[in-house]
């Protein structure tokens, strides 16, 4: 289940940023993915909320600016990943 969640998260990011899922590594961020711009970040927020059934706080919306940070914030919403 937790591995499935990880794969699902990578697929969402890959789809939004229009890159191969292999490019979504633990270090993924706007610094490593050129397409991670303001417009696509907004789309990412809405897609993550829909796909995982969570509702980010207004502050979290601008905190989730890397793959690692997304997982940390998801954990606060009860979404677990493989460590």
């Amino acid at each position: 289940m937790m591995q499935h969640q990880e794969q699902k998260l990578k697929e969402v990011l890959a789809r939004i940023f229009n890159v191969q899922p292999e490019m979504i590594t633990d270090d993924a961020s706007p610094d490593t993915i050129e397409n991670w711009d303001s417009l696509r970040h907004m789309n990412l927020v809405l897609a993550l909320e829909e796909e995982f059934g969570v509702e980010f706080t207004d502050d979290q919306v601008v905190e989730i600016l890397s793959y690692k940070l997304i997982k940390i914030v998801f954990k606060e919403h009860g979404v677990e990943f493989v460590q």
Partner: protein, 331 residues
Amino acid sequence: MTDTAGVGILGTGRYIPEKTLSNELIEKQCGLEPGSILAKTGIKRRHIAEDHETASSMSVECGRQALKAANIEPEQIGLIICCTFTGDYVYPALACKVQELIGAKNAGSFDLMANCTSFQVGLTVASDRMKCDPTIGYALVIGVALQSRYIDWSDPESAIYFSDGAGAAVLGPVPAGYGVLASDLFTNSRVFEAVRLRGGGSSHPMRPENISAGLQYYEMNGMEVWKQVMQFQPKAIKRVLAKIDKTTDDVDFFIFHQANQNLIHFLMGRMKQPLEKTLINVDEIGNTADASLAVALHDAVVAQKIKRDDLVVITGVGAGFTFGAAAIRWY
């Protein structure tokens, strides 16, 4: 008007210059990929004042429209607020010139600067003043931006967004329970420098060395803007609705500052509200800054998207950064 009566919007107007600048031209001047402006902002074109058009001329045009729509004579206006940072002069206030040009001889007049939030703040100040002093009778609130003269058209951070324009609203007495029900304003000055126009300020007067340094142009950190909007605009809406014990689901119509079509889609999506409950005109006229909320409100009224008894939220975000929202029960 009794002290229990409301203050509502009785008429609106707008003025947008006819001259346009195309995306193709801006993309060429800024070295951007063809089609990138539309994809990033949803903006198709921007409207630019001709040399003969001024902040005062645009204000007068939309102000007269609003007076006509409200069926109010200029002499009945007791207060004029021009919401702007691009008045004809640094001083006197633009509102004073507007008073003279429209013949509102009984009005007190001043300018208000809260950048793209300013029309919402102007509505709030006017309605508060009118509730404190019913002898004011009617107020004319104008949002106007003549910003094309402060844009470096080769700077993609600002050139892709901004337009000139003006919008106006006449406020007057309405029955209790209608009109402006609550307002909220807060500021996050930690990002004071993120969007700025330094030239002409007292720290950077219009002297040759400052002009040579390009300080007469807008400077904008676009990335910081969207972070501010994403984080704080929903808070502004929630704060004003909390004051009247309502939620976003109770709102019939939202008027947003028209900065970026994608941002408005995002905000409505986050609030889980259908796009039918808002109006978008930034695609057609660009970001008209101080005028934006007023023009969007006018367009919504003209399109009959707002009707009596609707709960309307007008919300803006502007440099500073200022965040504001007003909840209005439409009369």
